[in-house]
């Protein structure tokens, strides 16, 4: 490398470093006191990720879907349902427990609800993939 090229290479490396710093720790970033300058605080996570609790599982189509939505979603998201891989006996026990706890499940619809749950979230259901989200809010 020639003498003239060395400073250029150093500048290029510094620019490279600055470009790599596309995410800045918002907490540790020193505050600039430029009057009138817009204060930019870059988040320290990938902003393409959704906020925790904003992307929810939708129940799959089927004859028991409205029943499941009515019974389950008043108190918790569908995520907790969709990640289970339970047998008919286990789902029946869950439905009974939730009915006692106040879930809106008509007595004569329990079998239909259990059938929907076993059909979609039984032992043979495809692997559940949870949503990746931003860090927890403070």
């Amino acid at each position: 490398m020639t003498r003239r090229a060395r400073p250029l290479a150093a500048v290029a490396l510094i620019l490279c470093g600055l470009l790599l710093a596309d995410e800045v720790d918002a907490k540790k970033r020193p505050r600039r006191k430029k009057s009138g300058a817009a204060k930019t605080v870059r988040p320290n996570f990938d902003t393409r990720l959704p906020l925790l609790g904003t992307r929810l599982v939708a129940f799959p189509a089927g004859p028991g879907k409205p029943l499941a939505e009515r019974a389950c979603l008043a108190c918790h998201s569908g995520d907790i349902v969709a990640q289970q891989r339970l047998t008919e006996k286990q789902w029946a026990a869950e439905v009974t427990k939730m009915a006692v706890w106040g879930a809106d499940i008509p007595q004569d619809k329990r079998e239909e609800l259990v059938a929907y749950l076993v059909n979609n979230f039984g032992p043979g259901a495809p692997k559940y993939e949870p949503v990746l989200t931003r860090p927890v809010g403070r």
Binding site: A21, L52, Q84, E94, P130, P135, V136, G137
Partner: protein, 391 residues
């Protein structure tokens, strides 16, 4: 061999070219490189695995659990139902029951009492439930419903001394401000008084910050070495009582077999006991996905137990026939986790599996398979890392 501590994060996953580019940039602009990390965790790994959208339940990906202290915003969150955050205004901790002088302590009263700090692991009782076979109902946590934090607050013993604990008190009942929906039973708990007096604190700080609301702020119980179910969030009442608390969350949920049965067999209530101490456990946080025969790679992880310390972490290449010791990071506090690292030089190309197991200060050894139990608590089977070795 250097082990990873707070503030360090080795670029194991980087290829050589990117490593050199980063190293060059770091030499000239160290601030720029540091900005790629936040509280010791690379920005690209700062994310959560959502297990429930509402009430929010989320665990930390293993590759973000690489620092001695887990950052607050990457610490797992567990809610039984949608919490109603009270904030500090008007919050008070009531202390009653078998005490000479019932108390009502405001947040500032608590801050004026003698302070203490405890650095220890908080793990959800159900961490690893999603690994049990046959499956059991509940949040299907895998590995990350666990973290290590520095908790600041007041010893429960000091609070009870001020209240004048009576000899009749054998259990400390705990209550939080969160309320269940419809007819769901309330989350009321109790802990044996001996454990409370020896180790428990009322924490209002986490890693030097006011305890964040998602983690139980204004104040929560911290019970070192015991499962998270004992660490009451949004704590607003402690009541000293002769008997243990009753109700669903004491008598039905959070129960573990006194004598283990066969997988899939549900035991009668009389054969179950409450979940208390954590089981000895080690997890691999940074397995290199690829390696080259003859070139060293480093595995990293953490290990903890219900005993105050972990004395050994070992790695096996042959599913437990032989073991070699990993290096334990010297940084440690009672009931905190130990970071560990293991330098491995693969000799044969092809797919390899390495297993990790820990031994605690009481001699308990992590088992190959976690004992199956009906609610899927305290999974601690060996953690395996799969590595593809190229020639």
């Amino acid at each position: 061999m250097k082990t990873s501590g707070k503030g360090s994060a080795p670029p194991l996953s980087l290829d050589r070219r990117r490593f050199l580019a980063l190293a060059g940039a770091a030499a000239l602009a160290p601030g720029a490189l540091l900005a790629r990390f936040s509280e010791g965790v690379p920005v690209g790994r700062r994310r959560m695995i959502q297990r429930n959208g509402y009430a929010v339940d989320a665990e930390t990906p293993l590759d973000a659990l690489t620092t001695y202290l887990t950052p607050n915003d990457l610490f797992f969150v567990r809610n039984h139902w949608n919490p109603q955050y009270t904030g500090h205004r008007g919050w008070a901790l009531t202390v009653d029951g078998e005490v000479e002088r019932p108390l009502r302590l405001s947040a500032s009263d608590l801050r004026r009492m003698p302070r203490t700090e405890v650095t220890c692991v908080l793990q959800c009782a159900g961490n690893g439930r999603g690994l049990f076979e046959p499956p059991v109902p509940g949040i299907q946590w895998k590995y990350g419903a666990v973290g290590n934090a520095r908790w600041g607050g007041v010893r429960v013993k000091d609070i009870l001394d001020r209240a004048g604990l009576k000899a009749e008190a054998r259990h400390l009942h705990s209550f939080g401000t969160d309320k269940p929906p419809v007819h769901v039973p309330p989350f009321h708990r109790s802990i044996e008084i001996e454990k409370v007096l020896a180790d428990a604190i009322v924490a209002d700080e986490m890693n030097g910050e006011p305890l964040p609301a998602p983690h139980g702020g204004p104040a929560r119980l911290v019970v070192p070495g015991w499962a998270g179910v004992h660490w009451m969030k949004w704590l607003d009442r402690l009541s000293a009582q002769p008997e243990a608390q009753k109700g669903f969350y004491m008598e039905t949920a959070y129960r573990y077999p006194k004598e283990l049965g066969a997988p899939g067999v549900v035991l009668p209530a009389s054969e179950m006991r409450g979940v208390t101490e954590l089981f000895v456990k080690s997890s691999v946080t940074e397995p290199p996905a690829r390696a080259r025969a003859g070139s060293p790679v480093v595995l990293r992880g953490f290990a903890f137990s219900g005993a105050p310390d972990v004395v050994k972490v070992e790695i096996s290449e042959d599913e437990g026939q032989t073991w070699r010791p990993a290096e334990l990071d010297p940084q440690h506090d009672p009931w905190a986790w130990r970071l560990w690292s293991f330098r491995w030089v693969p000799s044969v190309p092809g797919p390899h599996t390495l297993w990790a197991r820990a031994t605690d200060s009481r001699g308990a050894v992590q088992p190959k398979d976690a004992p199956w139990n009906p609610s899927g608590y305290l999974h601690n089977g060996w953690h395996a890392a799969s590595i593809e070795v190229e020639s």
